[in-house]
Assembly symmetry: C2
């Protein structure tokens, strides 16, 4: 691994760069980003060695695409147009169906591996990059059979060296399930934040009453709106389905309370309590 | 402080007992609890010295009421019936209006201080008790003027020694605002958990896809259903109002997505992003 290009040098790409730097200390890492400040910051803190452009990636051993998913869908074919025969290209996006569909017939399809590492924080930009973010995390790989054997092997070696767990999945299933276990949480948190801020906007010291429970539930409302608008756009139909079910469940809970059916309220919570066992190992 | 009685020796009462033990190492701490296993556990791990009954509290210096709020409303008058003139009684409940109303005309009203320490975890029972849970946390005191000066002073000294910050508030405002910054978060988390579990019940390995974001947002769904049914019962009207607004906000977000108004979706998130500044100091 001599030449690595990271397209989009924020939290996700930047944290990955830190792992790559550790694994391949002699490799040169280049950054491509539409925000000049991100490039400057990333060089300053050592995430990348220098800026590059997409036209210079022919000699790349590895190209990592870590930009908002709707832009990634447009940029990926262009990236594949410019790479050499031995280049491995991987994306890190939170939706997988449209990015896979967009390059299905590209002549360099076998150079691409569709990935979704389940890792991140609510922060963004190169300064948010964290050493070790991916250690012990799950990496979901889609359509692995469409990537050449040699490059599959190269990628797998890389992920294993970082310490990631691998899961294989088809992109349509990925997008359906990830809407439940990731995307919906973000909407739930953003709207919780909105509800409380709207109510309390003239009484800021009310937030003195908030404890760690509120902080935890609303944490994802700090997330980057650009990243998430892009994800919601790409995964619209699945997310609308989860949102429908979530609203129905909330409305049902409200009805139980209105009817003073507190046995029902108790049961709703009791039935969900086994999330304890489910969450073990995630936190 | 020689004799302390904790009624309800779970997470809240048990953690408080640990602080009291540190501050008053010579005091005897008694536990009163309707669950015999809780008493046995609490003695075993040193939270309390012995079991007691409500009829034996006349000589108490301090009685702490840390049981579900709807039961506390019924038990508090009985507690006040049995105490001596110098006894300080405080409750720790998450709702304040009905407990204050319930003892408004009690002849021992001045022995009672209505408190709500904003502290806790999603766990429950004596084994969940934590040393230092209350350090640096906010304690909301309601109707302080209705407590005798001497006992106000005693309580204040205790809270300050523990390291709590004090806020004064009327009970009706307390219940209104706490519905937003605490109670709604619990419903939001429980229904998120329900939505995901219902969808994925036949595909348990889907939870391999869940990351720390989901875990954080759904964390409160591990909370004790008895505690929370009781709170929802006591604060029904305020919570229904918050729930209405939350559902309206979610439905609006859904509409924006349905109409492909992703500028609107972006704005919704952008407008809520300053929760970052609000949360500073809470987490």
């Amino acid at each position: 691994m001599e030449k690595i290009y990271i397209i989009g040098i924020g939290l996700i790409g930047g944290s990955f760069a830190r792992d790559l730097r550790r694994l391949y200390p002699k490799a040169q890492i280049f950054g491509i980003d539409t925000t000049p400040e991100h490039i400057a910051e990333a060089i300053k803190i050592g995430l990348i060695d220098a800026e590059a452009t997409i036209t210079s990636i022919e000699a790349a051993d590895l190209v990592v695409l870590s930009i908002p998913v709707d832009i990634a869908v447009k940029v990926l074919p262009e990236v594949l147009d410019h790479i050499g025969d031995q280049t491995l290209v991987m994306d890190m996006g939170s939706t997988k169906a449209s990015i896979c569909a967009g390059v299905a017939t590209h002549e360099k399809r076998r150079n691409f591996l569709a990935c979704h590492p389940i890792a991140g924080t609510e922060f963004s930009g190169p300064m948010a990059a964290i050493e070790g973010l991916y250690i012990g995390k799950t990496n979901i790989i889609c359509e692995v059979e469409k990537t050449s054997f040699k490059l599959q092997e190269k990628a797998l070696h890389l992920f294993t060296s970082i310490g990631m767990r691998i899961r294989y999945m088809d992109p349509v299933s990925h997008d359906k399930h990830i809407a439940y276990v990731s995307h919906l949480s973000h909407i739930s948190a953003f709207m919780l934040g909105k509800t409380v801020i709207n109510k309390e906007k003239n009484e800021r010291d009310i937030f003195d009453m908030a404890g760690s429970g509120f902080a935890s539930t609303v944490r994802l409302a700090k997330s980057n709106p650009t990243t998430w608008t892009s994800i919601f756009k790409q995964n619209k139909e699945n997310i609308l389905e989860t949102l429908d079910e979530y609203i129905t469940n909330l409305a049902h809970f409200k009805e139980l309370m209105q009817e003073d059916d507190f046995n029902g309220v108790y049961q709703e919570m009791e039935n969900t309590n086994h999330i304890k066992e489910i969450l073990k190992g995630i936190e």
